[in-house]
Homo-oligomer: 438 residues x 2
């Protein structure tokens, strides 16, 4: 067992604090480290003010074994990270001719003139090593000092991510700062609340000494992670506990590991060679986008129609005009006709449809904003279900997505898909997760 | 001018550090405060470990005027925020009968039994005031002590967001901790690099003493924000500078404020009463989803076809089978036929189409993964453009989205849409932004 190192992350950028950009670096780096048995200790988001960078750097440098910074390496005057870090470490900034050459070469390759301010990016603290940047002008920096490691990465995600995966991770591996698998086992559940879940499972967890459990609830779904912190890897024991939980959960069990509902459905459909089509009104392409985020989705996903107005519902999905007049476009009848139309047009086995009022305006007294009908065409029949939420437009779209996916998932389970077909064997699934990480 | 207060935010949750969930609280709270003239000073993301909470709370409580915490108020054993905070403040936790009654009532209303662990949520530090939670069981807490304010909010976004907007913001307003408008002016540009932008504009900015400029680059788009930090509001001066920048930028100027490309297009289309349709292959619904995120998008967006397989391209968009055989489905010809088919099926004025290889597998020697053709049907003609990116599947989808939107935006500008129609008058736009915030 490798002695666990304390990893800390400083993300620089006023745009994060102003709510203009999401902190994607935290998600990406946290995820990468998690897959290698490391839980990031903490993340500090601060602005580009020189004094604040200095203060925060000194605070973290005292406490961390491995400190990662992102951002502030760009060419403009508000990029001050290197200056602040050099000052804190008592180092000079030296000019690196190799870096300048790489920047010049990059500009030549893309056929644009180099601005003079790009020269700034060729400076580095004297004891820092360069991490070449294949996607941009700012190189990363690696520095060993007093038994600690400092890793400075550029801000743009398309530069940071390949640099981290291809250059930083192998170096951390070589230094035995990271492991080759997760320490956790995560179980995802759907359709059961957080407090109910704890009530149901705490008696089981209490039987295992040293077992740690963490819950995380998000929009109709609750995940829980089990681990034995501070011990050697006890994955076999964790898998045994997971097996018990899965049996107890029944169809409220979603997945082991990090598979989303759409991935679980994707695996089920692929295992059965079944095809899916969509007819989306108020979700407006969100469900199609979710499925097409999955690599290889063309194996089971045929396509969809975003019928945002009634003509499209009639012309492209063959929803009868009289039906819309009689029941309105937000009704059980239209949801069923849309699902049926999509299945026919795409010649699919399954089809999901969504029609509703996402708001903020619209709706009727019987079907106010937040009312959504979800239709499902399956080889076993066709039906629709009514939902109602009091939430923002974005949240109603997300909830309708989750509800539609869960409706399809439960139908796929009910349609007698055996465990083996659906790839639900927990040990097999876990092994394939572990293999994909190694 | 109100003396600026230092706002700090602690976001609790191991799931953030493990990269399992995005830090949406930072984005939401940062955005809300920015709209009211406050730049969040810093954000600390830590796990639910009691000792870490205590350390971080003491660090922040010394430095902040207003400290906000999110998460850790749930019913389960790993929710420890109140305990740690009470210890740091030297307060007892007292049981609040009113809170228990509200929780009981909530469970009755939704017709589920209350778990015993929910009783935990009725405890509060003795000097804390309750902020009622209309969407969940964990109330928020408000505490004034030693001239400082502590605001503790529950983790689930659908509980936190209405609580913050409807209860916390009005209290902060009444205490004059926030203002009624932004201190910044943001200009968004498209098609010009960050270093080029600084080279072009720094001479202009240097003329204005005390002016602060910050740049933020993201996937083909660079924003810059101008402000006079530490002075009274000088919005008139900022608008004058913005006007000069806009003229110099020409069609590289995207918007003033925070409007995205899709919102800019939406305003242009609505002003001209023109309609849009889509035919998406490799973006798989992403463009439709982006437009339908805009409230009122049904005014200009008719719908789209996600033609993920070739049958759908032929049957639903009338792309000739021979064309696909001769040129493959990823070609200029097919992109044009898709745009044309979408315009016809939906009877739209404009239609965008996207066909390409998002990867990670697929592609041909001539058109490797990352090759994307974007077609545009406009009343002035129909054409397609080839793009190629070396990036991840998700990033290729996003870049194709941005490229498609910018193609349409430039066509709408070129199609002689006057400034007045397109709502590009900078003062009018700024006034409407400011009005929407008041």
């Amino acid at each position: 067992m490798i002695a666990p190192k304390k990893f800390m992350l400083i993300t620089l950028g006023e745009e994060l604090l102003l709510g203009l950009t999401r902190n994607g670096h935290l998600t990406y780096i946290g995820d990468q480290l998690r897959q290698r048995g490391v839980t990031l200790h903490s993340n500090y988001t601060i602005s580009d003010e020189g004094d604040d960078i200095l203060d925060q750097f000194e605070f973290c440098w005292k406490r961390a074994d491995v400190l990662i910074t992102t951002g502030g390496l760009g060419p403009t005057v508000d990029d001050r990270t290197k200056e602040a870090v050099a000052e804190a470490l008592g180092e000079n900034l030296v000019f690196d001719d190799g870096v300048l050459d790489a920047i010049k070469e990059r500009f030549e390759r893309i056929g644009k003139p180099m601005s003079d301010n790009n020269r700034k990016q060729a400076f580095r603290p004297e004891s820092a090593e360069i991490i070449p940047n294949s996607r941009g002008t700012a190189p990363g920096l690696w520095l060993n000092k007093g038994g600690k490691i400092l890793i400075m990465l550029p801000g743009p995600p398309n530069e940071l991510e390949p640099m981290f995966a291809n250059q930083v991770i192998p170096k951390l591996e070589a230094l035995q700062c990271i492991e080759d698998q997760e320490n956790y086992l995560q179980l995802r559940t759907i359709g059961v609340g957080e407090s109910q879940l704890e009530t149901d499972f705490q008696p089981l967890f209490d039987k295992y000494e040293g077992l740690q459990v963490a819950y995380c609830a998000h929009q109709g779904q609750v995940d829980f992670r089990i681990s034995y912190p501070g011990t050697e890897n006890r994955m076999d024991q964790l898998l045994e506990i997971a097996e018990t939980c899965k049996k107890q959960l029944g169809d409220q069990f979603l997945s082991l590991g990090h598979h989303s509902v759409s991935e679980v459905i994707s695996n089920m459909l692929k295992a059965r060679s079944k095809k899916l089509a969509l007819a989306e009104s108020c979700t407006g392409g969100l469900i199609a986008n979710t499925f097409t985020d999955i690599p290889g989705s063309s194996e089971f996903f045929l396509g969809g129609i975003v019928s945002y107005n009634n003509n499209a519902k009639q012309d492209l999905l063959d929803v009868p005009e009289e039906m819309i007049q009689q029941h309105t476009e937000v009704s059980q009848e239209v949801a069923i006709a849309m699902a049926s139309g999509a299945a026919e047009k795409f010649e699919s086995d399954y089809a999901l449809s969504v029609t509703g009022y996402a708001g903020p305006t619209g709706g009727t007294p019987e079907n106010p904003v937040g009312t959504v009908y979800i239709g499902l065409h399956s080889p076993r029949g066709i039906w629709a279900k009514r939902f109602q939420w009091k939430a923002s437009r974005a949240s109603i779209k997300t909830r309708a997505l989750n509800a539609a996916l869960d409706l399809l998932r439960r139908e796929l389970i009910a349609a007698n898909i055996s465990d083996a077909d659906a790839n639900l064997d927990i040990r097999k699934e876990a092994k394939s997760i572990l293999r994909s990480l190694s």
